[in-house]
Symmetry: C2
Subunit: 316 residues, 2 copies
Amino acid sequence: MSTQPIDEQTGRAVQVAAEAREFYEGLVAHGLIVPTEVPGGFARGPGFERVLCAFDALVQRETARDGAESLVFPPVIDRRILERVDYLDSFPDLCGVLYSFEGDDRQARELSGRIHRGEPWADRLAMTEVALNPAACYPLYPTMRGTLPPGGRLVTMFNWVFRHEPSPRATRMQAFRVREFVRAGQVDEVLAWRDEWVQRGQALLESLELPAQREVAADPFFGRAGRMLASNQKELKLKYELLLPADSALEPTAVCSFNFHQQHFGSTYGIRTSEGASASSACLGFGLERVTMALFRAHGFDSERWPRPVRHRLWP
Amino acid sequence: MSTQPIDEQTGRAVQVAAEAREFYEGLVAHGLIVPTEVPGGFARGPGFERVLCAFDALVQRETARDGAESLVFPPVIDRRILERVDYLDSFPDLCGVLYSFEGDDRQARELSGRIHRGEPWADRLAMTEVALNPAACYPLYPTMRGTLPPGGRLVTMFNWVFRHEPSPRATRMQAFRVREFVRAGQVDEVLAWRDEWVQRGQALLESLELPAQREVAADPFFGRAGRMLASNQKELKLKYELLLPADSALEPTAVCSFNFHQQHFGSTYGIRTSEGASASSACLGFGLERVTMALFRAHGFDSERWPRPVRHRLWP
């Protein structure tokens, strides 16, 4: 990319933006999403939800024999998790911390006055103990503290995740749902699980006639220091992604990521293997809205007219 | 209540707390919830989700012929909605506004340093354009701007809602799901719909052998001025609630509320009836976690052993 002349890059960006806008408008025209004033904060219509839920159910059917424990965490988590796992070192610009009002009657009147006069009121709220969950698996680790059973643990979750990255693109949402799996245990069993899942995830998407592309990937680390973290992450192959055309064919969208955390969470939260070592962990997550959009991209905006084998997989 | 002697009130509060603790511990012991460090922020286990989803599906089956449009909004909404509907006048203490980091590399290092040294960092984030949704129906109204079709509109939603009220009680969550219905149109049709639903909601809960109690209710308005708002709300019968024993039999829990908004949202957002008047609106919401807890309270922690007619209603 960096070797392309500037005008070629600009031309490409213009094309991607046009493609993305057309796709967004298609989703709206078919009642699949309903725009709000929040970029990346549209409502999902029934046709969209029907596909999203069917894909999630498919993943659950395909993995039923794995015997994962199943949990749903609320969208808000302990703010200290962000502090302890160094989220704010790496992604400060994506975080969402909740502030609320803690004052008395007089201060409440003052707040109200400011708002009604259209004056700034950001300094009238206080930081609370909660933040939005930026990665589906984060709230799980503190609950794993202690010694894992022999063979480790496998947990699946269905959580809303938040990233503060307002964007006009349908695929870049501020809030979205993730079907997540977490494996914790000995390093070799965790790594084997992660690597096997890269294949398995790809096969699962291909069974829906989606041409998933695999890539070694990096997280969008913040700033100059972030570039080094990203290149280190790629070098160690800590992260793989599966990409699909969703709102742009020129610039495919990551719909699933597979992450090896080494002993980051194990050592932070005192999670030990049954042998007494600091536990390793890995996770994988399907971005459910993005998979749904990739299905609409591949097979058309009317799911009633999708290829029969795809429909059969989703609604058996 | 206020006429009871102090020691009787205290005795009652102690009893309620004991009941509530026992219920919470029962949910945990049966794997129905998993505690986190956040009060009112526990994870939901598979047995809990199975009941919650079944109740929501029951409501959808029972209302299928109403022909409601169906939407899912993300947990975050436009912050200006809170400003425009006067939420921060009435419930400033319950709000959750999202703050994020907007600085540069140097400021990011400073933020990181503060966090690692355990110093305060609340003033390092900036208020964003988003807040958590405090009432399932709020994000809908701005999308209704303009003229309603003849007969008005009926919309159902399944949204996560946030209230900043940390509590050790299972029934008082910071984040929870609501199955919501909104009716917008002429005042008489809206009011008739709301009143009919109070009966219908009660019948629906009774069909699950839940002894719902109906009450004229008020919202938890903030401060001294709030007391007047609450008494006005009760006098005009703007809000009804259905209450059920959930974590306490002494102090039943509101599991469903029915609210008539007069023309509050219609005039704020320029929503007009097909006759050109400012639209009236009403909403009702089932607190899905609370209904689920009321079911566990009434029929026991093991849903496999619930009365056959209840099981048949939920899993036909």
